[in-house]
């Protein structure tokens, strides 16, 4: 399992725990002191990136699309920050 944390400049701390299968995301948990509205969407967001390849831009687009589709708001971190932290966790995978 890979772990990473990333402090967003002027924003919040994002932490990721990641399980991969080859180059794809099998399971991901995103924790931290950011704000996501509505809150309950976090698990769905995690599900939405499962199966995605570990490429920052692909992940960021996927997260962005998810937020848009669900009219969700992220505060203190951006889809790019989430994506970056997920990729960082992937690099730490053992």
């Amino acid at each position: 399992m890979g772990k990473a944390q990333y402090k967003v400049e002027g924003g919040k701390l994002v932490k990721v725990q990641l399980e991969t299968e080859g180059t794809r995301i099998k399971k991901v948990k995103i924790t931290g002191d950011f704000f996501l509205h509505p809150e309950e969407l976090i698990e769905e967001l995690e599900k939405a990136v499962e199966g995605t390849t570990l490429y920052e831009q692909v992940l960021a687009d996927r997260i962005e699309a998810f937020l848009k589709k669900n009219k969700a708001v992220l505060l203190g971190a951006s889809p790019e920050d989430f994506a970056r932290c997920i990729v960082m966790a992937g690099a730490n995978d053992d």
Binding site: T31, F35, G76
Partner: protein
């Protein structure tokens, strides 16, 4: 024009689970139009740690130390960070406001600024040079004195936050996880540089009542409202008891992440 009246509650000391349950119960009551917009003040007994909705309990909190010291730990319904709520060192408030209210913007950042401006005014009434700092803090001379967190749901905006009367960073870091033990002392020092309290700024003992009165006035003036002391309705008490038992005091909720 008649001045708009909101309800003012002081629910005193309660445990962490009831405190968080009561906040949600008031939100539910407001969403059903059973109660007016509300400002609630409250305190924590025993002292407690609350974590943000998205945080991991084991990741953030040293639950073994908490258990040994009789400190509660609870997950909030709002995002944001882990907070140590000292029984004697902190006053906590909640604002529960209908989402259609004139003070509420669709934009979260803007709404933080608006709602926190009531706190800033209240602190300035105490001669504390408080300022709002994005995203959700209030600072004095660049040091944090108040943290705030907001959520929306059921057409109600709920913002709660803390105002520090005194700080003991050594307790704070005994109950919050630190990356490694070697830097604990360093962290304690850095908190002393980044966090402040009313007692430290004013160099005297500020009481809960004095702070409460100043904040109440700050909200009244800034929001152009009158805060009328009120009580909980039965529905809120019953809902709070149920939410405590079924949600906030459960392991499923507190350890779900």
């Amino acid at each position: 024009m008649m001045i708009e009246e909101w309800r003012l509650l002081d629910t005193g000391f309660h445990d962490a689970f009831y405190n968080m349950a009561l906040d949600e119960a008031i939100v539910v009551a407001q969403s059903k139009n059973l109660v007016p917009n509300t400002l609630r003040f409250f305190k924590w007994e025993p002292s407690a740690v609350s974590i943000g909705y998205f945080q991991g309990m084991e990741e953030e909190v040293d639950t073994i130390t908490c258990d040994a010291r009789g400190i509660d730990y609870v997950r909030r319904r709002t995002g944001g960070g882990a907070v140590y709520h000292d029984r004697d060192g902190e006053l906590t408030y909640s604002l529960i406001i209908n989402q259609k209210h004139r003070l509420i913007s669709e934009d979260f950042q803007e709404t933080y600024e608006t709602l926190c401006s009531g706190l800033v005014r209240g602190l300035r009434l105490l001669e504390v040079q408080a300022e709002f700092k994005r995203i959700n803090d209030i600072v004095v001379e660049g040091k944090k004195i108040s943290g705030n967190a907001q959520t929306r749901g059921m057409n109600v905006v709920h913002q709660h936050g803390t105002v520090l009367l005194r700080v003991d960073p050594s307790v704070m870091f005994a109950v919050l996880k630190v990356p490694n033990e070697k830097i604990r002392d360093k962290l304690v020092k850095s908190v002393e540089e980044r966090v402040t309290s009313l007692n430290r700024v004013l160099r005297r003992d500020v009481g809960f009542e004095e702070l409460k009165e100043a904040l109440t006035k700050g909200f009244e003036e800034t929001f152009s409202i009158r805060l009328a002391e009120g009580t909980l309705i039965k529905f809120e008490e019953q809902t709070a008891a149920a939410l405590k038992a079924e949600k906030y005091a459960t392991r499923e909720w507190n350890f779900k992440r």
